[in-house]
């Protein structure tokens, strides 16, 4: 079992999706996260161990490396791709209830803003740490955030803005959401934001990178 857990973890950390994937060059021709996860399950490794001992810690390492600028967007996307390929094997176990997610994270880019790279990275890292992610997409109106919070009681909300002008939309959305859900946990992120702005609009956290968001929601 140790061998499978370690190899799945490494394949995710290195972004090795499957046996046909040419990346990384030093793993060419070797099985990737997809094959190793399938084999692990066939050999009696529990889905829960694969999730909690291989996938989640691997994405945590990826997140830390990204935070420290040792990995960049392309590599993180490859890691997420490897994780998703492993996750396809685990879907039936989630459906049956044998393994469970840590909770639900709702995320969207605020009204008037169409940028999604940062939002998608955060989604991937949070999904990789064992959460269900409800991605509302881009240009999300306040009403849609309200509806999603209502549909997912106890969720954590993440909001992204990449434009100075849509920071205003974010502020309006957070203030409106607080009227209906005063204790809702809200994380905000995006290039023009900072901690002072997050405090000013009443968000619970400014996440300058995905890993800070992951660490925050896992600490709740």
């Amino acid at each position: 079992m140790e061998d499978f857990i370690g190899r799945i973890s490494i394949s995710i950390q290195k972004g090795k999706v499957d046996i046909n994937s040419p990346y990384p060059p030093d793993m060419k021709g070797l099985p990737g996260a997809f094959e190793l996860t399938g084999e692990a399950l066939e050999n009696g490794v529990s889905a829960n161990d694969i999730l909690t001992k291989a996938m989640i810690p691997a994405m945590g390492i990826v997140g830390d490396l990204f935070k420290d600028k040792k990995l960049f967007v392309p590599q993180v996307l490859m890691c997420a791709k490897a994780m998703n390929s492993a996750m396809t094997h685990l879907k039936p176990y989630f459906s049956s209830g044998e393994i469970q997610k840590r909770g639900t994270f709702v995320i969207g880019t605020v009204s008037g803003d169409l940028h999604d790279i940062g939002k998608n990275l955060v989604s991937m890292m949070i999904e990789g740490s064992g959460w269900t992610v409800v991605d509302l997409g881009v240009d999300v109106k306040t009403e849609k955030f309200l509806e999603a919070i209502g549909d997912n009681p106890g969720c954590i909300l993440g909001m992204s803005a990449l434009l100075t002008t849509t920071m205003e939309s974010m502020e309006k959305s957070v203030r409106t959401l607080r009227e209906t859900f005063p204790s809702q946990k809200i994380i905000v992120g995006g290039a023009p934001l900072n901690k002072e702005f997050a405090n000013k609009i009443g968000a619970d956290l400014f996440a300058p990178n995905p890993q800070i968001a992951v660490e925050f929601i896992n600490s709740l």
Binding site: G15, S21, P22, Y23, P24, K69, L71, F72, V73, P74, Q75, L77, M78, K81, G112, L114, H115, I117, N120, L163, T164, T165, T166, M167, A191, P192, N194, E196, F197
Partner: protein, 448 residues
């Protein structure tokens, strides 16, 4: 010296009496003329009017013709969503939707809004020959992202030849756009490639260095100057950016200006940046903007430095903040005033002035930089001293030089914000202007 000479002098690493000033007026031009960004960014006439206003208000040495990194993408078939308060956003990626790279043609003035922007460049370069206009061209990596979507990131590993061929095509587009801007009269072509901040040095070297270097060689052949502008956390790629041989590198506030300066000068090129867009220019006061600009000026120096915002100015950036920066760059006294006053902590104890005033005499406090070295301060002191023969011991005149700590503390106690300033019995009466003696005499008589 003309503005254009300040810009070309900076690019040529010539020591000037001040840095060059380049406010990135993109959709902010619409704010200046009361238009919406979507209308403004779609026609030459609006752009010219917007920059007319920017030139009048901000006295720039250089200006971008437009700041719209979607111009080429639109001409190549990306659908855009226009906004009244922002540049448009790309909402579709042709190569993701079944269109092949072979189907795409290098765009020209007949495609999308390119013709309008080149027309604006021609009008502006003719109308303002003393200002350096910048043609902003979408960098090949960012344009590849527009065409392919985020697949460009994973394609670098899974299908590197595809990534390379799309970037090579985008590089040809950039050369064409550079040629159009240079032919229109632009002094500088800036290759703006913000998405390269998201890739590691290895990927930059593998996919970006060569095509971008070729663009800069091309611009040089066409007798233009070049800038490589990357906003975002691009510090890890700065050396590689400089190695592409542009004439200038420009960054935003994510990177320390000192770092950029060291790398640029060690590579024999100029550098620009990095006024804070949101925390000071958009959301701060005029003084916040001045202090931020002063930090940049003191770090950047007068050789090879172009003072500029970190990126496209937000549309509704307060005009007064940019006016303050444009004045500061030419006002050594104001720079010295801000430098001096920055040494006092907010909670520093100031002198108690309650025992300073009496019924028998009027106290005239003049807050100066130093009347021995600052001409406006000297004239103000001379004027005040002219009161002495007629008022005798009914007045007491004091000069508080803010070069000294005592002077700074008095300035703070009196609530003075500018120099030189005349206070009469503790009341601020004349700020930065030397009044006629008659007016000053009347002001003193009011207190007697």
């Amino acid at each position: 010296m003309t503005g254009k000479e300040y810009i070309t002098g900076s690019f040529g690493l010539i020591e000037n009496d001040r840095p060059a000033w380049l406010p990135f007026v993109g959709c902010h031009g619409a704010f200046l003329t009361g238009e919406t960004a979507d209308v403004y960014l779609s026609n030459a006439e609006s752009v010219v009017k917007g920059l007319d206003a920017a030139i009048e208000k901000y006295s720039p040495d250089g200006l971008p013709v437009t700041f719209d990194l979607q111009l080429e993408a639109e001409a190549l078939g990306c659908r855009l969503l226009f906004s009244p308060s922002n540049p448009p956003a790309v909402i579709s990626h042709p190569l993701e939707e079944g269109i092949s790279l072979n189907d795409l043609k290098i765009p020209g003035t007949e495609d999308g809004r390119i013709g309008e922007m080149i027309k604006a460049a021609e009008i502006l370069c003719t109308k303002y020959p003393d200002i350096a206009f910048f043609g902003l061209v979408t960098g090949p990596f960012t344009l590849a992202l527009h065409l392919m979507g985020t697949e460009i990131f994973t394609a670098m590993y899974e299908d590197p030849e595809k990534a390379r061929s799309v970037i090579a095509f985008c590089s040809e587009v950039a050369k064409k756009m550079s040629e159009l801007y240079i032919s229109a009269g632009c002094t500088v072509v800036a290759i703006v490639d913000p998405m390269t901040s998201q890739i590691d040095p290895g990927s930059f070297e593998t996919f970006v260095s060569e095509p971008v270097s070729e663009i800069f060689s091309f611009i040089r052949e066409k007798k233009g100057l070049s800038s490589f502008f990357v906003c975002g956390q691009a510090e890890h790629n700065l050396e590689l950016m400089a190695a592409c041989r542009p004439d200038n590198i420009s960054v935003d506030e994510n990177i320390s200006l000192k770092t950029v300066k060291d790398i640029a000068l060690s590579n024999g090129i100029s550098f620009g940046g990095n006024l804070k867009l949101t925390t000071t220019l958009l959301l701060g006061s005029s003084e916040d903007s001045e202090r931020d600009a002063l930090d940049c000026i003191l770090t950047g120096g007068n050789k090879g430095f172009v003072l500029a915002p970190g990126c496209d100015l937000p549309m509704n950036t307060p005009v007064e903040n940019l006016v303050a920066v444009s004045k500061l760059i030419r006002d050594d006294y104001r720079q010295e005033f801000l430098s001096r006053t920055s040494v006092l902590a907010d909670d520093e104890k100031v002198p108690d002035l309650s025992g300073r005033w009496s019924k028998n005499r009027v106290v005239i406090d003049v807050v100066t930089l130093d009347s021995d070295s600052c001409a406006p301060c000297q004239y103000m002191m001379e004027l005040v001293n002219r009161l002495k023969p007629s008022f005798g011991d009914r007045i007491a005149v004091f000069e508080h030089k803010i070069k000294t700590r005592e002077g700074l503390l008095m300035m703070k106690s009196l609530g003075v914000k500018n120099i030189p300033t005349i206070c009469i019995n503790g009341k601020i009466k004349f700020v930065s202007i030397t009044p006629p003696i008659k007016i000053l005499t009347e002001a003193v008589n009011e207190e007697i």
